[in-house]
Symmetry: C2
Subunit: 306 residues, 2 copies
Amino acid sequence: MRARILDGAALAATLREELRPRVATFTTRAGRPPGLGIVLVGTHAPSEIYVRNKLKAASDIGCRADLVRLPESATREEVVDAVRELNDSHFHDGILVQDPLPPQIGGSQTVFDVIDPAKDVDGFTPVNSGLLVQNRATLTPCTPTGVIALLERSGIAIAGQHAVVIGRSDIVGKPMAMLLLHRHATVTICHSKTADLPAITRQGDIVVAAVGRTAFVRSEYVKPGATVIDVGINRVTERAEVDALFAESSPRRADFEKRGAVVVGDVHPDVAEVAGALTPVPGGVGPLTIALLLRNTVTAAEHREP
Amino acid sequence: MRARILDGAALAATLREELRPRVATFTTRAGRPPGLGIVLVGTHAPSEIYVRNKLKAASDIGCRADLVRLPESATREEVVDAVRELNDSHFHDGILVQDPLPPQIGGSQTVFDVIDPAKDVDGFTPVNSGLLVQNRATLTPCTPTGVIALLERSGIAIAGQHAVVIGRSDIVGKPMAMLLLHRHATVTICHSKTADLPAITRQGDIVVAAVGRTAFVRSEYVKPGATVIDVGINRVTERAEVDALFAESSPRRADFEKRGAVVVGDVHPDVAEVAGALTPVPGGVGPLTIALLLRNTVTAAEHREP
């Protein structure tokens, strides 16, 4: 028995379609479209791709999408000024500062802290983080919120289930735990210091892997029939690693031949033989993250001009 | 084998003594003592006792402690104005609004929201709640912070242990989970919707009971040797309930005869036969909550006038 594949890309397309009428209504009422401003510092290659995808997705549904580019050498003051300008802009409802930032900035969070919480479409400001804990946030982090949308739209029960979150980042693990808890799951948060991790994760009716380590969650970590959500996006460039992960017949091997790299999640391909449902990588959580960024932008616009 | 009793009252006394030199230093430097302002609405009997104890504890260590009393009929605006006055006061470093508030106020949290986060000695504002999630809060909720102090000062390991928190309130359960997580425990949060609760809690090396139900955690909920922290404060006034809970020889029965009521935690007395360490009620977490309120007040003062 192979796991049911939870098609994040398809749901992301649905969510984006659902936003179109909201964008149209807002645009008519406000006399302008919802606006997203992205601050990008430097030319970090993956960031360039992420930012391009986000801007394109936003304009595809009729939003305004602006990129504020700063050089790799930008000072903290310059980045903060760029954020403040977007805070003050009438035309921008959502602000995103693309992570990572160069070292002289002194930590991304110190820049996130400057974002107007009403425009904080990543949900990273302390106020929005606290409102999430108190179960009354309007803007919640995109990746974990996308996971909830996928579970709910796939008809996977959350209430009364045991959800195990592997990873405790501010961006995924901790908000994921809160969102699951508020939907009445029993929630366990695991991490690198967890003793006998497989014994814990095997209890999960839902397992969310947000570790950042290629194929870390193996079949012995998973209870038969469990739902496994793979948040990882790891680039594998070693042929030996690809060969070890994927059978000779796998199309992923052909992908590797073509591109010299494949993207692999935090979940080992073998888990598909044990799990009841599983998100693929790519095409699972990744596209949902962008869809939720758009939803947050539209929501922020609607709250700013009700 | 009976559990080691973790003496919260004794640690609370130690923590208060540790504050005296900080209070003295601050008072000399600032030309005034650290100040705590408490807003009390109405004359709810337990609140009167709590508030009196807090004010006395604050002045005992040399702090200024003021009570702002409002009638039971006070409007939301009046309560908010009282908070704003304390926000603006040079002499008050900590503000506490005593819960519960009468129904016309429209929810305590809406009043907590008005407190200046720099003076939020209960740690209930969204900003401080979010900073706690991000592991960089200065002022964290008193009860869970007191539990951490008790574990650490009692030499009970947290890192790598499995901690199970029963209860998911904004005031205890959720911040408790975050504080344990940041000290590298694996953390499970349980609640009324948790399936097979005893099977979950029996995994806990540390179990924190914050349910608000008399003697809810029974010996079969606890792994032999586990540390059990009892956050509950339940007033029992029925003789039959007291007789069922305490053996004939128990001094608690005599207490009941004298006062017509006893205070019982969320943990059943039988757990003392199974647990490795246990907080008593009264004399466990309760006194620590007040000690941490004082520590937060002194910390807030030191941050306001460094």
